[in-house]
């Protein structure tokens, strides 16, 4: 009984130390790129990521044919949602908080890939896009 309790306490302490569940500051662009690339089994390519991000697509919702619809092509400046709200710059050189929260990255990849492409992005695509964005 005591042994079990001690074990649970240890697991709890480790979970807190590991920042579980995911919390802000729990990851980095480098870590995320490595994870997505390992999952995909491909080498991340910033050039492919740039082409995907800047490209115009037809599979998604007509209101959002490209990532640049809201983020614009200048990723060091703020973008704007269709409802008029500012979107913080995507370039970590001007917005260091980018790509440090794994839950946030997962949520926005899920939503925005579906909005723009009509499907979720593959792990390889996520690695590519992050490889490019994180270099800005």
């Amino acid at each position: 009984m005591h042994e079990n309790l001690r074990r649970l306490t240890l697991i709890g302490a480790l979970a807190v130390l590991a920042g579980w569940p995911a919390a802000a500051g729990d990851t980095s662009a480098r870590q995320l790129i490595a994870q997505f690339a390992a999952e995909a089994g491909t080498q991340p390519s910033a050039a492919r990521g740039k082409a995907l991000f800047m490209g115009t697509h037809t599979g998604g919702k007509p209101e959002t044919p490209s990532c640049t619809t809201c983020h614009t092509r200048n990723l060091k400046a703020a973008g704007q949602t269709r409802a008029g709200k500012a979107i913080e710059p995507m370039a970590p050189s001007v917005n260091p908080a980018r790509y440090t929260d794994s839950a946030k990255v997962a949520k926005w990849f899920r939503r925005n890939c579906k909005s723009v492409l009509g499907r979720e992005c593959t792990a390889a695509e996520k690695a590519d896009i992050l490889a490019w964005l994180s270099s800005l």
């Binding site: 919702k61 949602t81 008029g84 899920r110």
Partner: protein, 157 residues
Amino acid sequence: MRNPVRNMLMAVPLLMFGPGAPASADERMPVVTDALTKAECGACHMAYQPGFLPARSWKTIMATLDNHFGEDASLDEADRAQIEAYLVANAADRNGRTGWMLRGLGQNDYILRISEMPWWVREHNHEVSQRAWDRAGSKANCTACHRRAEQGWFDDD
């Protein structure tokens, strides 16, 4: 704060004594008090006050987040349910309320855009210049003209 039962219990005093929808457009609209609602809804647009729409509208909006006015705004189920509970508990028609904000709205009208509510159309259609519309860019952008909209003030027009 993410315990829905506790949140509902916390909402009880609000339902009994809390401010309702304002009696006129010049009064203050009760502000969004739920932190999750503020953060998630406020990520893309002003977190609109729940008193702007009836419960049936909020329920429909929260059931169709995967196509939210042309965008995927999906949430994980726990967050979605908590936000819906907050919006419904504070909706324009909570506790059987009626009032000017619901006037002209049929029982079976499922209006999803606040800007399509009859009162909204009445308040905006004749007095907003094309220049002001252009500056706002979108009818969803309350704060373009109503600087203190998030604080519940819409009288600065």
